[in-house]
Symmetry: C2
Subunit: 469 residues, 2 copies
């Protein structure tokens, strides 16, 4: 399709950077898990912030909706266009530079299209740590991480992406550039606009650059796997380890026995740390700014207390980086083992940590009543109160057929989450996938404030329409 | 004044809790430093959130402006009414209860009028730490701390008040109650409204309750005072200590020689750690989740490296809690020594840490040129990039007379702050005092977004008018 609007976009970014034919656009239109393919009027690939601003102004003038896109690794359809074909996709992938590392201020300035792993590497090359880490880090962009307030495996110690961001540059829905690229630990000069754009999933403007916090690299980390007989024990062990290790406890992941059996079945080459079977396992990581011996000593002293106090049944402490890596691989292969077993019904929920054991018991029971024999694959970042609570079919039922129960199962799980004061989206966001859930569960006072803010900042409603609200 | 509106308020909260005569209202109308006294139509003292909501609805109906008030310890006139006498003061001081401590989730639920020190005590009684700590902690309320995003002495390790808050209850400018009292570490379900109310200084609604994060109590802390010959060396020492101590470095405060001499002059009973005179001093605190020996060992190993590398000239490491306390007293008496010396011109600024040495040199030189002989009292939370950069008169000039230069000196200091990419309000906020400065220095794109949000959430403009915007 060649129209006047597309011509205007070409005059801004140059003809090669406006894709308007189907084969060229295709890679930008399908979501990461391959569940949905939308349509677009064009795909725009600006080279810098000024081009983004001019494109947005052109879209505003022509009332063309804009879907901002980073690495397209989101799990809730937040970065792909709908089926109408009215929107343009604005991809930040050409704006992928690391602009500056400031080792004394411990900050890094990056463009929004920078790949997470390249930011980690740039920090590492400066002898520092950018702690955000998640499965898609080789593909996802920091603009997407910020727009979805991504979580990952380092939240317990370093917080979500929100807590790692000091400053932003944003192109507003009018096509203005807001230079909020501050590199300050303290700044109380008005409303928290930075916080508002983080997690807004591109519905309030387009993040084009960011200043991020860096940390000293720990000298060493070590890992243990601890066997316990219940989620309640896992919660007690978490408290104990936090008291013993303080900020040195950098990860605390929960896995049920079913998760470990699934991994063992599909990936038999991975370590099987225990001969006996136990109900629950916790993967613990302790990092030290001093030495490997210090990390091991801290970890062992916590685990010894847990074994003596009867909290833990058995434990394996990694004695090398290779052993640590092996234990992490078990954790990281749960999702892959699930995928190998067939499709299942996924939930990304969070709860007050103190209510997790009751949540699991109650929700397991409700599901067993409604779908006798269904299998719960429950694991997650227990230290953050974040569970991936997934449901697979009963023995002998085809996975595809079981997906017909998705809505009923979502309702059972999310009703239970809300009853236990939890969140129906811990780290993945709302996107297009959970818009109806948000309407169902969110306090109307809160929804109305969100709508008022959306209308105030994006009065034409052109920024990522149909997402979140 | 008895009018229909005041009668309506009495019917909501009971007659004793609406103050309308001058002597009863007086304690609510003057700011903490005694620089300004406003007027009010009445002072309202609700007992609970429902009463707050009904009062706000009554104010909205009658178009009466509302000044929310906590402990009234703010430094920028944010919590006192203007001189018009049109507004009511709505004090949260009766809503001062600690509602619940959840030791497993490591959270505490409090009403907005709870005194900071009482929250610290409640955490401590549960064997946990609420880390927010600042000079006014015996009087200030958590609602005020949240509304101003207070800083204090624990920011380096635990962040600002923003980072310590998980959930809020807010009465909106329409008199609705938003129940956002979530106790979750992860929640990506829409816009960051919590973040927006934190630091909004009561201009978007009234915080009535909050869920706050608690931490394990460190087993021990220890302190050192290190002498150096320049701010640049103090920055290098900060990097070194962060690398050696990681998250165990819990405070890093800078003081110039002039500050120490001022304290020694006005408080001769306090410790004078060094016989010789040095240009700059850093007060370091290291906390350990293990033992006092561990804290001392970490601190000493960092300081030894600094002495060997020529970064530091001399150092005193506290060998007891009493010695630590003595060193902190020197730091905490700088403001008192200044007050004893007479009024001076204060600035609460922040900068990228890497630019602080250049900022100090440049600003000192500009002031010396404009006001030869004037004395800079520069100290602050260097680890957060936050300086209290105050200016006192030259020898022989009366302090009161020198205040006539306030505007010119503010301009020199704040122009320099902005030139070095800093903030004109690091931890105190804008209030009524810095509204003109904000207009002068803030990006118009940012100011316009702030105004749009204010108009969207408070269309009648009744919440704390004249503050921030």
């Amino acid at each position: 399709m060649t129209d006047e609007f597309v011509g205007r976009c070409r005059s801004i970014v140059g003809a090669p950077w406006v894709l308007a034919d189907a084969p060229a656009m295709a890679p930008y239109l399908t979501d990461w898990r391959g569940r949905f393919t939308g349509r677009a009027r064009a795909v725009l690939l600006p080279a810098d912030t000024q081009e983004v601003a001019q494109l947005v102004a052109a879209c505003a003038a022509a009332r063309v909706p804009i879907v901002p896109q980073g690495g397209r690794t989101g799990l809730v359809l937040g970065s792909v266009p709908d089926a109408s074909g009215e929107a343009v996709v604005l991809s930040l992938r050409r704006m992928n530079r690391i602009l500056e590392v400031d080792p004394t201020n411990r900050t890094i300035l990056v463009q929004a299209g920078a790949i997470l792993q390249e930011i980690q590497d740039a920090a590492s090359n400066a002898g520092l740590l950018f702690p955000l880490s998640l499965a898609a880090e080789g593909s996802c962009t920091i603009g997407g991480n910020l727009s979805t307030n991504a979580g990952g495996t380092a939240v317990l110690r370093y917080g979500n992406t929100r807590e790692l961001c000091l400053g932003l540059e944003v192109v507003t829905p009018r096509g203005e550039v807001w230079d909020g690229l501050r590199a300050l630990r303290k700044d109380n000069t008005g409303y928290a606009l930075r916080e508002l754009f983080v997690g807004a999933e591109g519905t309030l403007g387009i993040i084009t650059a960011a200043v991020l916090k860096l940390y000293p690299q720990p000298k060493a980390s070590t890992t243990a796997l601890v066997a316990m007989d219940s989620p309640a024990r896992a919660l007690s062990l978490l408290s104990l380890m936090q008291d013993v290790c303080g900020p040195s406890l950098t990860a605390y992941e929960l896995m049920s026995d079913f998760c470990l059996r699934l991994v063992a079945h599909h990936f038999p080459h991975l370590p099987r740390p225990f001969a006996a079977t136990h109900a629950q396992y916790a993967l613990l990581e302790v990092s030290s700014s001093e030495s490997e011996e210090h990390a091991i000593r801290l970890l062992e002293s916590g685990i010894e207390a847990a074994l003596e106090g009867g909290l833990a049944i058995d434990a394996v402490v990694a004695m090398s980086t290779a052993q640590s890596g092996g234990l992490w691989q078990v954790r990281e292969h749960i999702s892959l083992a699930q995928a190998a077993a067939g499709k299942n019904i996924k939930h990304d929920v969070s709860l007050p940590i103190s209510r997790i054991a009751d949540f699991i018991a109650t929700t397991d029971a409700r599901l067993a009543e409604a779908f006798p024999g269904c299998q719960v694959v429950c694991f997650g970042h227990l230290g953050d109160g974040n569970l991936h609570y997934n449901v697979a079919p009963m023995e002998g039922v085809a996975h595809e057929a079981f997906l017909a129960n998705q809505e009923a199962i979502n309702r059972i799980v999310h009703d239970s989450v809300v009853a236990f004061d939890g969140s129906i989206s811990a780290e993945h966001g709302i996107g297009a996938l959970k818009v109806d859930d948000l309407k169902r569960y969110k306090d109307p006072v809160e929804l109305n404030m969100m709508r008022a803010i959306k209308a105030a900042l994006d009065p034409l409603g052109i920024m990522n329409p149909g997402k979140i609200l």
